[in-house]
């Protein structure tokens, strides 16, 4: 029997949407709420029709008991990373026989809980990522013949369990990353396969039709014998291949992948000697990532004429120099070019000619679609950036060099579509910033590490350009937001970390830094901003780590 005041509290808590907003962020209180109060609160929320899906999903993080929910027509339920969902919770969930999609990755489920899922016969999607799924548990799931999507990354499944996968005749998506599976039997409907960080000895060997594979993710995988391992794969439909960080050595299979659009070979053994294999399949490529490989300007030269449709090219951390830039200009549809951490200087010396050097970046002028250019950690100087001022489509520019000065800012004033500009660690002065007259499209200006700037100068710039969000260690100014939304946006999160970091002084970022967004989900991040942990989040997560995020997200997707 509820006491009088408890009843009044629950009524007040569920008065309307606004009152729910007032308490829903009180995570510590929600965690301590006794289960009968949690149930009463949920019941009242349902009664008042205030329990919208995102709130329910959020509350699952705190409440372990939700037996009062009668969701007879529910088709899709995402409980990923809800640690309080355990085997007891799954017992309630399996009563929802209509479920077609169930996400329970990284929850508190044990092998027993996974076995219980076998009674949800209508499941077409099942995400068990990060759960202790054993061969036996997987075997008990073979009654789920409607399954099209199965994610069991990080499970305990071995080759024995992998043999069971053949029972799922409709399976088109399979994620076996971080498992001990080395031999995958033939799965005739498979279109997308993740085997990141696996040791692969044979793939899709066996009777039946060859699966129409479209997407293969081998990031960090080891191959005992790549020719043998990949022998049984039908590659003519393959459009996405991520072999970053893998042990692939010879790339002889590449020429058979004519439909390839996205190719990630970063941190692989790829080099000038092997790049001809990439050139063979260049005709359809849209996105090519060769960062952290041995490919030099010579290799880019080999690729130059073979990539007519390439839109995104990443060559960061490669030994390329300015000669590569002129080859890159022969790829007409490029939108994004990443040349960070390379030997690009921005000009090439010519002996005997007059003048004895020319500006290499000028060659990129011919790329009419160029939207993003990253030249961070290169030795480009002010003079080398002069050609950029005529790039009509450039929206996003990242620079990071201690040799850049106000002169660079001046060149960039004339870019008509510039939206995002990041100049780190440059020697920009107050008067230089004062004279900077960017296009009205500028939304973000990141000046972190520009140590000469003072707070007053930055504030006066912010006043002059209220639509621009400025990032710097000394300020946390945000563009005036006419919508006045209540939910904290990512940019507000940044401003908070900036504010906190300011007290700590500058925090240097180690190269091994892992993007916090991968480690935490959104709610956790929101909670973190009020805790001391946020001190550890470097202040410019956005721009400097975007490369890292790109690399890792491909293995996560």
């Amino acid at each position: 029997m509820e006491s009088e005041l408890v009843r009044l509290c629950i009524e007040a808590a569920c008065e309307n949407r606004e009152s729910v907003e007032k308490w829903r962020r009180q995570r510590r209180s929600l965690e301590r709420l006794p289960s009968h109060l949690a149930d009463a609160l949920l019941r009242r929320l349902i009664h008042r029709r205030l329990l919208f899906p995102s709130l329910l999903e959020y509350l699952f993080h705190f409440f372990s008991s939700f037996k009062i929910l009668r969701m007879t027509n529910l088709k899709e339920l995402d409980l990923s990373r809800c640690m309080k969902v355990t085997d007891a919770g799954i017992r309630h969930i399996i009563s929802i026989s209509t479920l077609e999609k169930l996400y329970v990755s990284e929850t508190g489920l044990t092998t027993n809980g996974v076995t219980l899922i076998s009674s949800l016969k209508n499941l077409s999607l099942l995400d068990l990522g990060g759960l202790p799924v054993t061969d036996q548990a997987l075997s008990s799931l073979q009654v789920l013949t409607e399954l099209q999507y199965l994610d069991i990354w990080g499970s305990e499944v071995s080759n024995k369990g992998a043999a069971v996968l053949q029972k799922f005749s409709k399976l088109s998506f399979l994620n076996l990353s971080w498992t001990n599976v080395t031999k995958l039997p033939n799965l005739p409907s498979l279109e997308c396969l993740h085997m990141s960080n696996c040791t692969i000895s044979s793939l899709l060997e066996g009777d039946g039709g060859k699966p129409p594979l479209k997407k293969l993710i081998f990031s960090g995988a080891k191959f005992e014998n790549e020719a043998k391992a990949l022998m049984h794969i039908e590659t003519s439909f393959l459009s996405f291949l991520d072999a970053s960080n893998s042990s692939l050595q010879r790339f002889c299979f590449l020429p058979n992948m004519e439909a390839l659009k996205h190719l990630d070979l970063s941190s692989s053994i790829m080099g000038d000697d092997l790049v001809k294999h990439v050139a063979c399949v260049g005709a359809n490529l849209r996105n090519l990532n060769l960062s952290k490989t041995r490919v030099s300007s010579v290799g880019v030269g080999i690729l130059a004429g073979h990539l007519p449709n390439l839109e995104i090219l990443s060559l960061s951390y490669t030994p390329i120099d300015d000669v590569a830039v002129s080859y890159i200009s022969k790829m007409p549809l490029l939108r994004v070019i990443v040349l960070s951490n390379t030997n690009v200087k921005g000009f090439i010396h010519q002996k005997g000619a007059e003048p004895d050097f020319f500006l290499s970046l000028k060659a990129l002028e011919s790329l009419n679609h160029l939207e993003r250019l990253n030249l961070e950690q290169t030795s480009v100087s002010d003079a080398a950036l002069k050609p950029l001022s005529s790039f009509q489509e450039l929206r996003d520019l990242s620079l990071r060099s201690a040799s850049l000065t106000d002169v660079s800012l001046h060149y960039l004033s004339s870019l008509p579509k510039l939206t995002n500009l990041s100049i780190h660690d440059a020697v920009l002065s107050n008067s230089g910033l004062n004279l900077f007259n960017p296009s009205a499209t500028l939304k973000k200006l990141d000046l972190c590490g520009c140590w000469l700037l003072t707070e007053d100068a930055i504030l006066s710039f912010c006043k002059k350009y209220p639509q621009t969000e400025v990032r710097h260690e000394l300020v946390h100014i945000l563009p005036s937001n006419p919508n006045g939304s209540n939910s904290p946006s990512p940019s507000r999160l940044t401003s908070r970390t900036l504010l906190v970091n300011q007290k700590q002084g500058n925090i240097s970022i180690s190269s091994s830094f892992v993007d916090q967004r991968l480690k935490y989900n959104r709610e956790e991040l929101l909670a973190l901003q009020y805790s001391s942990f946020s001190l550890a989040i470097p202040l410019d997560r956005g721009s400097t780590t975007s490369q890292l995020l790109m690399n890792q997200s491909s293995s996560m997707s």
Binding site: L5, W23, S29, L37, L41
Partner: protein, 98 residues
């Protein structure tokens, strides 16, 4: 007013609320503490400490005691609760059986 008719409720932060014993008795838990046979410190000094209840919440609780007495005597008013207090107040009320 006699001292025996008053009780002192102490919050987690150490704030003291001196209220009528009749009001405090609205809580079944406090009632049990103050009337139970034996020599509980609470019974002797008329003092109860709540290390789990913050000052804001304890103040609200005290207000509720008085409101409850008035309500019971026929004065029908609303007891306003700010939404941001609901979770903590709910847990305190649950503990105090009020």
């Amino acid at each position: 007013m006699r001292k025996e008719d008053m009780v002192k409720l102490i919050s987690a932060e150490g704030f003291e609320f001196v209220i009528d014993k009749d009001a405090a008795m609205v809580s079944q838990t406090i009632n049990n503490m103050l009337t139970s046979p034996g020599s509980f410190a609470e019974t002797q000094h008329g003092e109860v400490t709540f290390p789990e209840i913050s000052t804001t919440i304890l103040e609200k609780i005290c207000k509720y005691f008085y409101w409850h007495l008035q309500f019971a005597s026929g004065k029908e008013t609303e007891f306003p609760i700010e939404p941001e207090l609901t979770l903590e107040l709910m847990m305190a009320a649950n503990y105090l059986h009020t």
